[in-house]
C-alpha cells in the first residue's frame, strides 16, 4: 500500500514539473511514465481492496501456510475468523520487546474471533507452527453465523472467556 502511494506521489510530482516547465522530457514523464505508475498503484490498491472485501464476505475460503509464515500480526485489522483444518499455529504476543508464545492451537480449534466480536485490532500475532490449512470465514458471515446459531455463539463466547482468563492468570 505504501508503495502504491509513493508511486502516486511520484506521478503527482511529474505532473507538477510538467506544469511548471514544459519540455520534451517533462511531457514524456507526465504523459507516458506517470500514467504507468498510476496504473500500477491503482491496480495494487484495487486488488488489495477486492481481496479485503472478499475476505470480509467470504464463506470458508481455504488458505495454506508453511511453518513460520504469519497468518496475521498484532495490530492488524480483523476481517475474518480462522478454523484450523490441519496443522498447528502459535499465538504470539510482544511482551517487553520480546516475542512470547502464549498459546498453541491445533486441528479443530479456531482463532481470530476476538477482533471480530470486539471490533478492535488483532491482539496477538498468529504464526504457522507446521504445514497449516485454515478455513477462513469472513467477518460478516461469521457474525451472521453467530446470530443464526446461538449454540455456536455460546461456545465461542465461552472459549473467548477462557482465553481471557488464562491470559489474565498468566
Amino acid at each position: 500500500m505504501i508503495g502504491a502511494q509513493v508511486l502516486s506521489l511520484l506521478a503527482y510530482a511529474m505532473g507538477l514539473q510538467f506544469l511548471r516547465h514544459t519540455t520534451g522530457g517533462t511531457l514524456f514523464l507526465f504523459s507516458t511514465v506517470a500514467p504507468m505508475l498510476v496504473m500500477i498503484g491503482a491496480f495494487s490498491v484495487i486488488g488489495v481492496i477486492i481481496f479485503k472485501l472478499r475476505r470480509r464476505h467470504s464463506l470458508f475460503d481455504f488458505e495454506t501456510y508453511t511453518p513460520g509464515q504469519i497468518v496475521f500480526r498484532e495490530g492488524d485489522e480483523g476481517d475474518s475468523a480462522y478454523f484450523i483444518h490441519s496443522g498447528e499455529v502459535e499465538v504470539i504476543r510482544q511482551e517487553d520487546g520480546d516475542e512470547k508464545v502464549i498459546a498453541k492451537l491445533a486441528k479443530g480449534e479456531y482463532f481470530g474471533e476476538m477482533a471480530l466480536l470486539s471490533n478492535r485490532p488483532r491482539n496477538a500475532t498468529v504464526r504457522a507452527a507446521s504445514n497449516l490449512r485454515l478455513a477462513v470465514l469472513g467477518k460478516k458471515n461469521f457474525l451472521n453465523m453467530l446470530s443464526a446459531m446461538p449454540s455456536a455463539e455460546e461456545d465461542i463466547l465461552k472459549t473467548m472467556k477462557d482465553r481471557t482468563m488464562k491470559r489474565a492468570a498468566r
Binding site: 506521489l9 505532473g15 506544469l19 514544459t22 500514467p35
Partner: protein, 227 residues
C-alpha cells in the same frame, strides 16, 4: 479530518507554479484552456498529494477503516486518473509551443532565434514578427503529416537524438522529406496578396508540379541560419 477541509485551499498555493503557462501573454491573448486548465490541474494535484500524505501520516499508509479506504481510493486511484485524463488536454495544448519544440530539437535553436529576430527577413521571421501566425509557429508550419506521419517523425527523431548526442549530425540541417506545398497553401491559398504575387505559378503549385521551396529554399529562405 480538519486537514481534509483545508486541502482545496492548499491547492491554490500551487497556482503560481502553473501560472508559468504563458507569462508574456496579455489578457486578450490568453489561451483559456492553458490558463484555467493548468490552474485546475495544479489544484487537483495538490489535493491528491495532500490526501496521500494525510493517509501516510494518519494511517501509516494502511487500509484501516472506511475513511482510510476513501482517502486511499481518492488519492491513489480517482485523482491520479483525473489528473492523467485532464492532463492529456494540456499535453496536446503545450506540445504545440515553440519552446516545447526547441526543448528537444536543440540543433534548431538558431532557427528559433532567427525566427524571433526582428531584423531577419527569413520567411519564418516575417511570419513570426508580423504575427501572421500568432502562436505555435513551429507546429503550424511543420505538421501536415497526420497520425502515421507522427509515428514516422518520432522514429526519425530517435535517429536525430542519436546524431545529436554522438555529434554526428551535419550542418546545415536539411529536411528529410520535401517540404509539402500544402503546409504553405493551407493558409495562403485564398489570400488576395499571395494570389496576386503568385499568379503565374499558382496552378503549378496547386497541382504539385512546382514546389514552394523551389523559390523559397534559397532566394527567399524559410530560415536564415549563419553557417
Amino acid at each position: 479530518m480538519g486537514f481534509l477541509r483545508v486541502l482545496p485551499l492548499c491547492g491554490w498555493a500551487l497556482v503560481p507554479l502553473a501560472a508559468g503557462a504563458r507569462p508574456e501573454a496579455a489578457k486578450f491573448q490568453m489561451d483559456p484552456v492553458d490558463h484555467y486548465g493548468s490552474r485546475f490541474l495544479a489544484v487537483v494535484i495538490a489535493i491528491g498529494i495532500g490526501l496521500v500524505v494525510y493517509n501516510l501520516l494518519r494511517y501509516r499508509g494502511n487500509l484501516v477503516g472506511p475513511t482510510s479506504w476513501g482517502v486511499m481510493i481518492l488519492g491513489v486511484v480517482i485523482i491520479p486518473a483525473l489528473t492523467s485524463g485532464f492532463g492529456t488536454i494540456l499535453v496536446f495544448e503545450r506540445a504545440e509551443r515553440v519552446e516545447f519544440c526547441a526543448s528537444c530539437h536543440l540543433t534548431m535553436k538558431s532557427y528559433v532565434q532567427d525566427m524571433k529576430d526582428p531584423k531577419s527577413n527569413s520567411l519564418a521571421a516575417v511570419h513570426f514578427n508580423n504575427r501572421y501566425i500568432p502562436d505555435d509557429q513551429c507546429y503550424v508550419c511543420h505538421t501536415s503529416y497526420g497520425l502515421f506521419g507522427t509515428v514516422q517523425a518520432k522514429r526519425e527523431g530517435l535517429i536525430d537524438v542519436y546524431k545529436y548526442y554522438t555529434r554526428t549530425f551535419h550542418l546545415p540541417l536539411k529536411l528529410r522529406h520535401p517540404y509539402p506545398n500544402g503546409d504553405c497553401l493551407k493558409c495562403h491559398e485564398g489570400a488576395v496578396k499571395w494570389l496576386s504575387s503568385h499568379e503565374d505559378y499558382k496552378e503549378a503549385l496547386f497541382a504539385g508540379d512546382m514546389t514552394c521551396m523551389q523559390c523559397h529554399g534559397n532566394e527567399h529562405p524559410a530560415h536564415n541560419i549563419p553557417q
